[in-house]
Amino acid sequence: MAIEKHSTPMLDQLETGPWPSFISGIKRLRDEHPEPRINAMTNDLLGQLEHSYETRKGYWKGGTVSVYGYGGGIIPRFSEVGKAFPSSKEFHTLRVQPPAGNHYSTSMLRQLADSWEKWGSGLVTFHGQTGNIMFIGTDTKNTQHFFDEINEYGWDLGGAGPCVRTAMSCVGAARCEMSCTNELKAHRALVNNFVDDVHRPALPYKFKFKVSGCANDCQNAIERSDFAVLGTWRDDMKVDQAEVKNYIADKGRQYYIDNVITRCPTQALSLTDDNTLVVNNRDCVRCMHCLNVMPKALHPGDDKGVTILIGGKRTLKIGDLMGTVVVPFKKLETEEDYESMVELAETIIDFWAENGLEHERCGEMIERIGLANFLDGIGIEPDPNMLDHPRQSSYVRLDGWDEAAEAWFERQAEAGK
C-alpha cells in the first residue's frame, strides 16, 4: 500500500546545494526501500522534522528503554506529536561501541547495515560525539532484537547516562608517525575494564576516556574527557639533519626560521649557519609543532609513554574545564604498565563515585575540593608539572610545611635525583 507522503517544503530546500544531503537519504528510505515499515517510519520522521522546522521546536522526549540485562546504552525517544506521526512515535537510538580507532571492513559495515534495516529505520551515523556508532530510530521491541543480533557477532552497547561512556582513540600507530603509544590497547584496556560501569549507570555523572597518540590531540582528549591519555616521550627527539637540509633546500631558510624556529613555544630550537637544527631537549615541551612542519626530519624519541590529564569537560554546570595533569609521564609497554593505568582509573572513579555530588563531573569535583585534596584522595604526590605556576594567594595555612618539604626530599632521594 502506498503511503501518503508528508509535504516537506522546508526540508526540500536542504536537498539543493553540492554537499551530500541527509534529507535526500531519508527520502530514499521512504521512497525506495523495499520494507514498508521503513517507508512509513521515515515518512513520519520527515513529517515531524518538517513540523520542527516550521515551529522551531523539538518534539522528542526521553524515557526509559533498555535491553535485557543492561541499564543504559539506549537513547529513548518518544514523540510528543506521535498522533500525527504514528510510525515514528518511538524512535530510539542505540549507542554501539566502535572498534578502537574506528577501523572497519566493508564486509562488517554491510553486515551491520543488513541487521539495522531488519530491525531499525536504516539511519546510522559513524559516529556520535561521544564516539558511538549511532543506530538512529527503532521502537522498543526492535531495540532488543537488533541488539541481540549484533551482540552475537561482536558488538556491544556504549554508555548513556551517569556512567563510564564509550571511549575514543585516534588512528595512531596504525597509520601515523607521530604516535607515541599503542592507542588502541590503552583505549580497550581502560574502557573494557569498566563494562559493568558502562552498562549500568550508577556514577555521579558521565565519565569519558579519550586517547590521543601525541600532543596534537586529534581526539580532543584534554578538552573533552575526564581521563585523557596523550602519547609523549622523554628522551631526545630524533633529528635527521640531512632531511632538515632537504626541507630548507625546498622552501628556503627563512620559511623554516619563521615557521619552525620562532614558533617553538619554549624557544628550544635554533638553526645554525650551516642549516643544522639544534634542539634543547631539556626545554622542549613536546608540543609537536616542529614535527608537524618537518615530518620527514623530526621524530619522537624512543623513550615513549603517556601523560594523563584528569577532569576535562564542557560548560554545564560550572564552566569549561580542561583536564589537569595528574601523571606527567608513565611508561606504557608491559602488561603491568597497562594494569597500573587501569588501577589508577579505578582509584579515580571510586574516589569520585564516593565524593562527587549528583550530576557533578570529576573535574567539577576537583574544582570544589581542590587539586591537592584530590591528589591526596587518590594517593598521588604533588608534582610541579601539574601546575602552570605555584599559588599566588597567601590565604593558606602552612603549618604542615616542614613535613611536606621533608617528604619531597625523601621522594626525590628515592627516585635517585
Partner: protein, 356 residues
C-alpha cells in the same frame, strides 16, 4: 523472562580484525607522511611500505543505501577497509598509487566530497538536533548541510593558513565541542514553566541543584508544588530543561545562534584554548540559516587573508589583537563580550599593551 537472552558484555571490539593489512603490518612503524593533494595523504613506513588515504565528506547521517554505496566504492576502487575520522569523514586506504585517482573519481561521481585534509575547513562536527535530540534549540544537521554547501571549496582545497575546525551545537551542552569557529544556540529568555506538570515530571531538588546561578527555587504555584525562576538571576543556559521538560527553554523567536572563535584542542605551539564569544543574537532561521553562514564566511575570509602559515584562528587573533579582529570581521563589540563568570578577571587586559 525465560526467553530473554543474556547480553555478551564484550565492550569495545578489537580493531585488529577490521584494520587494513598494510596498517597491521606497519603498526607503530610509520616514518613520515606527505600530502600529495587535498583529500589525500601518503604515509611511508620505515619498511618502505606506502599507503595512500583518500578522505571524503558525507552527509554523516547515513541511510543504508548510502552506507552500502560507500562500501561498494571501498570494494571496487579501494581495498575493502575504511576508517572514520573524529569529524565523521570516511577514509579509504590503498596500497597502489594508481588506485588513488579512480577512487577519487568514484567518490566524487557518487556525490561525496574528497577533501578535508590539512589546511582545509574540515567537516563541521555536530550531532542531531531536531531530528533526534530531546532538548535541541535548532537542527545542527541542517545548519551543517547549509554551511557546508557554501564552504565546500574550502573543504576541497587546502588553502587556509592552517586547519579550521567548525562545530555546531543545539544547546549549551555543546556536543559539537570546542572549535576554531563554533555556532551554538544561545537562549535569551528564561524558561517558560508549565506549573501543572512540574510536580509529576521533575525531581525538584535535583533541578534546583542543576542551576549554575541558584536562580531556581521550589514554590507553590496555583496550589501545586512547582518551581520558580528568579528571572533577574537567570542566565538562560537551559540546564534546567533536560531534567525538567516542563521548564521549556526553547523559543521559536528568542532562542538565537551565537558564534564563538578560537577553540583549539591541539598543544602545538601553545596550550589548548577554549573558544570565545564574538557574535550573538543571530536568528535561528531554518531551513538555511543564511545569517549565521554569512558571519562564518566573513571570519574565514579575514582569517585566510590575515593569518600566517600554521596560525590557527586563536593564534591569528592573539597576534593581531581583538580590536582588529572585530574591525576586520565587521562585528560589534559590546558589554556582553566581557566575561562575568568565575575566572573572568584573568581575561581582562592588565597591561599597557594596546595596538594602534
Amino acid at each position: 523472562m525465560a526467553d530473554m537472552r543474556e547480553p555478551i558484555e564484550s565492550g569495545c571490539p578489537d580493531p585488529w580484525q577490521y584494520m587494513h593489512p598494510m596498517m597491521r603490518k606497519n603498526f607503530g612503524q610509520w616514518k613520515y607522511h606527505e600530502h600529495p593533494r587535498p583529500g589525500v595523504l601518503l604515509h611511508v613506513a620505515y619498511s618502505g611500505d606506502k599507503i595512500w588515504t583518500v578522505k571524503a565528506g558525507t552527509q554523516r547521517i547515513l541511510d543504508v543505501f548510502t552506507l552500502r554505496k560507500l562500501c561498494d566504492i571501498g570494494d571496487q576502487y579501494a581495498e575493502g577497509y575504511v576508517h572514520f575520522t573524529l569529524r565523521s569523514n570516511i577514509e579509504y586506504m590503498v596500497t597502489d598509487e594508481a588506485k588513488v585517482q579512480p577512487l577519487i573519481d568514484a567518490l566524487e561521481d557518487a556525490g561525496f566530497v574528497v577533501g578535508g585534509t590539512q589546511n582545509t575547513v574540515a567537516m563541521i562536527s555536530h550531532t542531531q538536533g531536531w531530528l533526534h535530540c530531546d532538548i535541541p534549540g535548532t537542527d545542527a544537521s541542517g545548519v551543517v548541510k547549509s554551511m557546508m554547501d557554501e564552504l565546500i571549496d574550502e573543504f576541497r582545497n587546502a588553502t587556509m593558513p592552517n586547519r579550521v575546525h567548525i562545530t555546531t551545537s543545539c544547546c549549551q551542552i555543546n556536543c559539537g565541542g570546542q572549535g576554531d569557529i563554533a555556532i551554538n544556540i544561545q537562549h535569551t529568555k528564561p524558561p517558560k514553566i508549565n506549573h501543572d506538570l512540574v510536580a509529576n515530571v521533575c525531581e525538584r531538588p535535583s533541578v534546583v541543584a542543576r542551576c549554575p546561578v541558584a536562580a531556581i527555587r521550589p514554590a507553590m504555584v496555583n496550589g501545586k508544588p512547582s518551581l520558580e525562576v528568579d528571572e533577574r538571576k537567570c542566565i538562560c543556559c537551559g540546564a534546567c530543561f533536560p531534567p525538567c521538560p516542563p521548564m521549556q527553554i526553547n523559543d521559536a523567536e528568542h532562542s538565537k545562534l551565537a558564534i564563538w572563535v578560537g577553540g583549539n584542542h591541539s598543544n602545538a605551539r601553545g596550550k589548548p584554548t577554549f573558544q570565545k564569544l564574538v557574535a550573538a543574537g543571530i536568528p535561528n532561521n531554518p531551513p538555511r540559516w543564511p545569517e549565521a553562514t554569512a558571519i562564518v564566511k566573513r571570519i574565514l575570509k579575514a582569517y585566510k587573508e590575515g593569518a600566517r602559515d600554521w596560525e590557527r584562528v586563536n593564534e591569528w587573533i592573539e597576534r593581531i589583537g581583538w580590536p582588529r579582529f572585530f574591525e576586520e570581521v565587521e562585528l560589534p563589540f559590546t558589554k556582553y563580550h566581557i566575561d562575568t563568570w568565575r575566572g573572568a578577571r584573568a581575561s581582562f587586559n592588565s597591561s599597557s599593551y594596546i595596538r594602534f
